[in-house]
């Protein structure tokens, strides 16, 4: 009769899973219910700033769709797009976006907002790079090794920008990576990398939006924030139905129209202004910002 213990455990597990699935999957998110879904892969900065959390319910309500947001670096978001695991991507790496569309994976690259990157670091600026150009700041870090630099190191859009600055400063990135202990690869999202830089008293390259929304947690201040190379443009790209026939192209197009619509553009422009005292994102519906 004691075999009942095992049977009871199994039955208990099964009942628990049923019960919990009602609790856990309440609110219309039952995976078995036929609900139209749109999968978006986004760069971490648009997620960590809370912008997606703010816009998601509006889009869901307007179009009656369940939106699944995957927060990943630009590199992973592009990979998900190429594999057809998501329907639309919002990222910030122009060169790779253009390539993504040219290779037939994306329909069209549509810029919808921009802000600027900045180099942040400890207030006492141990490497003395305040006020320099981004390239000169990197050069000083490399030559003196007097301040640690925390790199995203995750193939994200921000990481791409960092590599672009190293290239513009005349360095081979592979040499930078292995130049010394001052160069640290975090391999994590923007928020986590900022927290790491703060803990380690190092410098890092960040987008303005994430920095502002994490500022209260950080002991970091803006060190270098001027230079044409620091422009940071966010684009939305629908995954092409030619590369992946199963993609929800109709809803992806709705999202592109939604993000570039005048009302949502205004909301993006005003997002966070009250909380942080300055604009996190400048809207630029469909047009490439020039400066």
């Amino acid at each position: 009769m004691k075999r009942k213990i095992i049977v009871a455990t199994l039955v208990g597990l099964a009942i628990a899973s049923l019960l919990a699935s009602f609790v856990g999957c309440g609110g219309g998110t039952n995976p078995l219910a036929p609900q139209e879904r749109l999968k978006i892969a986004t760069t971490t900065s648009l997620y960590d700033t809370g912008l997606w959390g703010y816009l998601e319910p509006m889009f869901e309500e307007e179009y009656g769709v369940e939106v699944d947001i995957l927060s990943a670096g630009t590199g992973i978001a592009l990979e998900y797009g190429m594999r057809g695991d998501v329907d639309v991507i919002t990222i910030h790496d122009k060169a790779r976006e253009v390539q993504f569309v040219a290779d037939g994976y994306g329909v069209e690259r549509v810029p919808f907002a921009y802000n600027y990157f900045l180099i942040v670091g400890p207030a006492d600026d141990p490497a003395g790079i305040k006020g320099l150009s981004p390239e000169d700041a990197f050069r000083t870090l490399y030559e003196t090794g007097s301040g640690s630099f925390i790199s995203r190191g995750d193939d994200s859009g921000t990481h791409s920008k960092e590599k672009a600055i190293w290239a513009s400063a005349g360095y081979d990135y592979e040499e930078v990576r292995t130049a010394g202990q001052w160069y640290v690869e975090a391999g994590r999202g923007m928020g986590a990398t900022l927290l790491m830089a703060s803990e380690m008293g190092g410098y890092t390259l960040t987008d303005m939006g994430t920095f502002l929304s994490y500022k209260s947690e950080l002991e970091l201040v803006p060190i270098v924030d001027e230079g044409a190379i620091l422009l940071n443009v966010y684009s939305v790209i629908a995954v092409s139905p030619e590369s992946n026939p199963n993609t929800n192209i109709e809803m992806a197009n709705n999202l592109v129209a939604f993000l570039t619509s005048p009302e949502i553009q205004e909301l993006i422009g005003n997002y966070g202004v009250e909380e942080y005292g300055m604009q996190l994102f400048t809207p630029c519906a469909g047009a490439e910002p020039t400066s």
Binding site: L13, S17, A20, R188
Partner: protein
């Protein structure tokens, strides 16, 4: 130290007030892990009995392999499942990437070796004369297996609970194939990972406490059962 203390206080408030977000995430974690544990148990108990009660060449090697897979890295299973079920993969047509369904599949793969291996070793701990007696009294192979399983029930149960514990506590797999989608595939462990990276420690701590409480309850139940 104050940060930890403040975090703990806020975490306890979140739990005591049955904060909807905390409850929803904990409920989802339980649902996914209990489902995968049930499926894995339904596969591993019979399979374990079959492996135990039959002699075949390579049996020792098979058991060695299964035992090696106890320490299967969660991210390796995650990668394997991702490549398999991604739309560009061999069975991508199922379109279940980044859903709880694929998380359950991954967890079944992850915990089956533990449940299977521990079932086999539990059965081999049973006095062989019991099986022999059953057979001599005319029991069928199936009946003999059931009798042996019953004799080994505590050790078998411990194996099942080990499997469940690994399923509910793993993070790499859930993150990779679930995608940590809010309200859909976000579990206790992926939330802890995300909230820690955001520097919001209260919710992470609350969920960490819940995870420990779940482990505690399971252990108490197990101890209770074994004392009977």
């Amino acid at each position: 130290m104050t940060e930890l203390w403040d975090g703990l206080v806020t975490a306890l408030k979140l739990i005591v007030s049955l904060n909807p977000e905390v409850m929803e995430i904990a409920g989802r974690s339980l649902a996914i892990s209990a489902t995968s544990s049930t499926i894995a148990a339904l596969i591993c108990l019979p399979l374990g009995a079959v492996i135990h009660s039959n002699k075949f060449p390579g049996k020792r090697t098979l058991i060695n392999i299964v035992q090696t897979l106890f320490s299967l890295p969660t991210v390796a299973v995650g990668l394997f499942v991702f490549v398999l079920f991604s739309r560009a993969g061999p069975i991508g047509g199922l379109d279940i990437m980044f859903t709880p369904v694929v998380m359950v599949i991954g967890q079944v793969i992850l915990i089956s070796p533990i449940m299977l291996g521990l079932t086999v070793s539990a059965l081999s701990g049973v006095d062989k004369t019991i099986a022999d007696t059953a057979i001599s009294l005319g029991a069928s192979g199936f009946q003999t297996a059931v009798i042996t399983l019953r004799e080994a029930r505590f050790a078998v149960l411990a194996g099942l609970i080990m499997g469940f514990g690994r399923a509910i506590s793993e993070v790499g797999l859930s993150l990779m194939v679930g995608g940590n989608i809010a309200g859909f595939t976000r579990t206790i462990t992926t939330t802890i990972s995300l909230e820690t990276s955001k520097g919001d420690l209260e919710l992470a701590l609350a969920l960490g406490i819940i995870l420990i409480v779940i482990a505690l309850v399971i252990n108490l139940v197990l101890n209770r059962v074994q004392q009977k």
